[in-house]
């Protein structure tokens, strides 16, 4: 126990020393005659800090460790505050205040739009929500919650139906025989070109059967037996092929992200590549 504590202390010292040296070297590297010394020191610090945090997160891949814990907790705190400030400045000051109070608007330097009584409502609802902090009157906050849940449920019910559901249903109406001019023409013009009749017709059939069997798979009140059994099996096959394909396709994007991160380390921090 005492040993492992000593080892982690040594590691800590080594890490601190390493990043201090890196800071100094970076500072020397970016400093030239024209730049102010303090700016070089500061910029070098920020680059080194970002590199340290990057490596601290990567160290999580080995195992959970104090450096990851440090980065994680710092990240949580800073980001929560960041969004709090953004919300306050852009929404409360930028959006609500100009509709409520002239004097406060001018204090914060936002153009006053005229008093609008409708902006009292969210203020009241917001205060109702804050009543949660009181143990006695906490139930009042449910009024605000009820408004939020009701509105969003109604809002999304129809909007989702329109944007996704109906457009997907209507797009399923595809001709199962593309440019059909009889079997003779079909055979003579047979080609594997992606815009050819054969591939288009085949694709439309796959789409039709895929959607059909996929929907059968999602039937809850029918036992998957007989016809339903076969159809739902085809459905889950199509789903699995799709999942595999999407997975394989995503690898590229994820590798690009890692390339971006390592480029930062190798180029911006260590200067190994140009």
């Amino acid at each position: 126990m005492a040993d492992s504590k000593r080892i982690s202390k040594i590691i800590l010292a080594a890490v601190i020393a390493f990043f201090l040296i890196s800071w100094i070297i970076k500072g020397l590297a970016i400093h030239d005659e024209d730049s102010v010394l303090w700016f070089s020191v500061r910029d070098a610090f920020l680059i080194t800090l970002a590199a340290f945090l990057t490596l601290a997160i990567f160290s999580f891949l080995y195992k959970d460790n104090p450096y990851y814990k440090f980065a994680e907790n710092l990240f949580v705190g800073v980001s929560a505050a960041y969004w709090m400030c953004v919300g306050f400045w852009s929404t409360i000051i930028g959006n609500m205040l100009p509709n409520l109070s002239e004097s406060l608007s001018s204090t914060f330097g936002v153009p006053y739009k005229g008093f609008n009584i409708f902006y009292i409502v969210p203020l009241i609802l917001g205060i109702l929500l804050l009543m949660r902090l009181s143990s006695k009157a906490g139930w009042i906050s449910r009024w605000a919650l009820a408004w939020i849940v009701g509105t969003t449920a109604g809002l999304n019910l129809v909007r989702y139906l329109r944007t996704d559901f109906i457009s997907q249903v209507s797009n399923t109406f595809v001709p199962l025989l593309v440019d059909w001019k009889g079997f003779g023409a079909f055979y003579s013009g047979l080609s594997l070109a992606s815009t050819g009749q054969f591939v288009m017709t085949l694709s439309n059939w796959v789409i039709f059967i895929g959607v059909f069997s996929g929907l059968i798979y999602f039937f809850f009140s029918k036992e998957h037996k007989g016809f339903f059994g076969v159809a739902s099996k085809v459905g889950i096959w199509v789903l699995m092929i799709t999942f595999g394909a999407s997975f394989g396709y995503t690898v590229m994007g994820r590798v690009s992200l890692l390339v971006g991160r390592l480029t930062y380390l190798f180029k911006d921090w260590l200067g190994l590549i140009s």
């Binding site: 929560a80 969004w83 329109r162 109906i166 209507s170 399923t172 959607v211 029918k222 036992e223």
Partner: protein, 410 residues
């Protein structure tokens, strides 16, 4: 005098030459170098204008028939410009750019007074369409049409398909729920992912370890999150009965508030209000990856026996699920976010795919009322399949009205 004659003669000559060349081919006319004065084209015909349907007002649809010289005869009309005035005598101002290959235009203005281009409702407007040639000084104006007024509608006819669907589905749901209330037995097939939830809670109790419930990155506005609350309610009730621990880190503060209320209710239902602690459900941060970092920390340090991911998830899904594997937890996930389902399928023990997430709350509750709505969903799916078959047949027969009905506008 002589000069005048020369000019007139030249112009005459050019006019004749231009006319002759105009009839040769479209290419010569379309050529950019042809700057000769073209002969006057015929104006557009049958101009008409009416309030744009199914909208918020402040817009007028203008239609006209092609000028006879558009594509035929002189072939010198290349497009049209729509003009509008408040009086039949003018002044007319251009309301469109040069419109190509179309004979209709929606003249829309701003909605509110004081904005640029404000177009008040219930006011008379007069329209005129100008047929343009390659040479912007050679054009022909149509007759004036008017007066016409714009106004807003109270029902959008383009959304009838949605209305019918909502009404039909509402009817189905109420019908099956009242049937279920009447005591009818409704069969529901088993869903492995949901049966696993009960087992997983039992396992956590045996191991004396907590359960981690992640509501995802959805905001209070996502219906997937609403579905997740109800699952959380059922899980929390069981957890309270078994006296296992529960950890619910939240991404959205409103979701956190609702989740706290949900868990409190569940503990009350289980008869253990004393065991409820508000801090079981807490806020982490509403930044995607900071939230993930925090939840990862919880997984590796508290070592929950079971991780449940229910709701909306984005790129973080795989980070969460893989860390859960490292921590050795049983993992059950459910999301309607299609792009993330593959990662959950690959990394979790059980995954509720899409609609199964919405069915889960009904399953866990086993309440007839909720099962009734599942039955309604099934009938609606059967309806979609039938519609698709009808659509396919009607396309075969060349009858497009049926398909067009489902192309919702607006």
């Amino acid at each position: 005098m002589k000069l005048k004659i020369v000019v007139v003669l030249t112009m005459l000559f050019m006019g004749v030459w231009a006319m002759a060349s105009a009839q040769e081919s479209l290419e010569t006319i379309a050529a950019p170098d042809s700057i000769q004065a073209a002969p006057l084209p015929e104006p557009a015909k049958e101009l008409s204008a009416k309030d744009a349907p199914d909208d918020h007002g402040h817009a007028i649809d203008v239609t006209w028939a092609k000028s006879p010289d558009d594509g035929e005869r002189l072939k010198n009309v290349i497009g049209y410009i729509v003009y509008r005035a408040a009086n039949p005598d003018g002044p007319f101002e251009a309301r469109s750019g040069l419109l190509l290959g179309t004979t209709s235009y929606t003249d829309a203005g701003a909605l509110n007074e004081g904005e640029n281009d404000f177009m008040p409702d219930y006011q008379d407007y007069y329209y005129r369409v100008r047929a343009m040639t390659q040479d912007s000084t050679v054009f022909a104006d149509s007759d004036i049409f008017g007066p016409v007024q714009s106004y807003g509608q109270w029902y959008d006819k383009g959304k009838t398909a949605v209305l019918l669907l909502v009404a039909g589905f509402l009817f189905l749901t109420i019908f099956f729920i009242s049937k279920a209330r009447g005591g009818a037995e409704l069969y529901v097939r088993r869903l492995a992912g949901i049966e696993a939830v009960d087992e997983a809670i039992g396992r956590a109790t045996e191991m004396g370890k907590p359960i981690l419930y992640v509501l995802g990155l959805g905001t209070a506005a996502d219906i997937a999150t609403i579905a997740s609350y109800t699952i959380l309610g059922r899980v929390a009730k069981k957890v309270a009965e078994y006296q296992t621990g529960l950890i619910v880190p939240c991404y959205d503060p409103i979701v956190m508030t609702v989740a706290q209320e949900t868990v409190r209710t569940a503990y009350l239902d289980a008869g253990r209000p004393d065991a409820f602690n508000q801090d079981m459900v807490y806020f982490v941060t509403n930044q995607q990856f900071a939230y993930v970092a925090g939840v990862n920390g919880v997984m590796l340090r508290e070592r929950p026996a079971t991780n449940l991911y229910m709701g909306k998830f984005y790129a973080e899904s795989l980070i969460l699920a893989e860390t859960g594997v490292v921590a050795g937890s049983i993992q059950i996930s459910g999301t309607d976010e299609i792009s993330q389902i593959p990662f959950f399928v690959v990394a979790c023990d059980y995954t509720l795919i899409g609609e199964e997430l919405y069915a889960a709350s009904a399953y866990l509750g086993k309440e007839p009322l909720l099962l009734g709505s599942l039955k309604a969903q099934d009938y609606a799916k059967a309806g979609v399949i039938i519609l698709a078959v009808i659509g396919f047949i009607s396309l075969m027969l060349g009858y497009h009205d049926f398909v067009d009905f489902f192309h919702v506008t607006g």
